[in-house]
């Protein structure tokens, strides 16, 4: 059963990684991805807004699609909202599969879809004021490979 958590609280990458897919002796490959707040242009903080209800549903649909495309033993998505500062972990995904290709591909798929199809919006607060992060064409384009 995949795990999906949308929360304002920080999460422990160490504990999540250690516990993920533990005790599964059919699993040969585990991939994790962690996204962090970068200190670009001296930003002091980031606010992440989301759409409660739709967020969980959208992530659930993305995870279901990944579980169907690849034979995954397990999957995990954690995504924070609220206030974060540079160095903070924004989100993570983890995938477990028999072989490495499936684990890597599924993790990249989850990331590509979470970027552009899960209802989160980032606002950065820097020396020149606050600005909503613009969606990148390359993130939309990334979906076309799947």
């Amino acid at each position: 059963m995949p795990t999906i958590r949308v929360q304002s609280a920080p999460f422990s990458l160490g504990e999540e990684s250690e516990g993920f897919a533990a005790g599964r002796t059919e699993t040969g490959a585990v991939v994790t991805f962690t996204g962090l707040v970068r200190d670009t242009g001296g930003i002091s903080r980031m606010e992440i807004e989301h759409y409660p209800g739709m967020t969980e549903k959208a992530i659930g649909d993305i995870v279901d699609e990944a579980m169907g495309r690849w034979t995954l033993d397990d999957a995990l998505v954690i995504h924070r909202h609220g206030t974060l500062v540079p160095g903070d972990r924004i989100m993570m995904v983890a995938t477990a599969a028999r072989h490495r290709a499936a684990a890597f591909e599924a993790a990249e798929y989850l990331m590509d879809y979470l970027k552009s199809r899960a209802p989160f919006w980032k606002k950065e607060y820097g020396p020149d004021g606050a600005e909503w992060v613009a969606a990148k064409d390359e993130d939309e384009d990334a979906l076309s490979r799947w």
Partner: protein, 82 residues
């Protein structure tokens, strides 16, 4: 009556996160026209529909989608999660 929700800069331009709207609009685009006719803040928020996304009952949809049976409409810019 329909719940209309706004996120990110759409919410900021309109000045509130959600409202109940009395409407007979047939499609999302019709609803947008009704809202734009109300006040300049709606005109500002909906000036460029290509910069907006819409969800109907929490599913991504299109501006030409019908509103029949829909309880919740949400407008927002392209997502920037991950």
């Amino acid at each position: 009556m329909i719940d209309v929700m706004y996120f990110a800069w759409v919410r900021e331009r309109i000045g509130e996160p959600r409202e109940r709207v009395e409407t007979d609009a047939a499609t999302v685009a019709d609803l947008v026209e009704e809202l734009k006719a109300r006040e300049p803040r709606y005109e500002a928020a909906f000036a460029d529909l290509s910069a907006l996304r819409v969800a109907l009952d929490q599913e991504l949809s299109d501006f030409d989608a019908p509103l029949a049976g829909v309880r919740e409409v949400a407008f927002f810019p392209p997502m920037t999660g991950g």
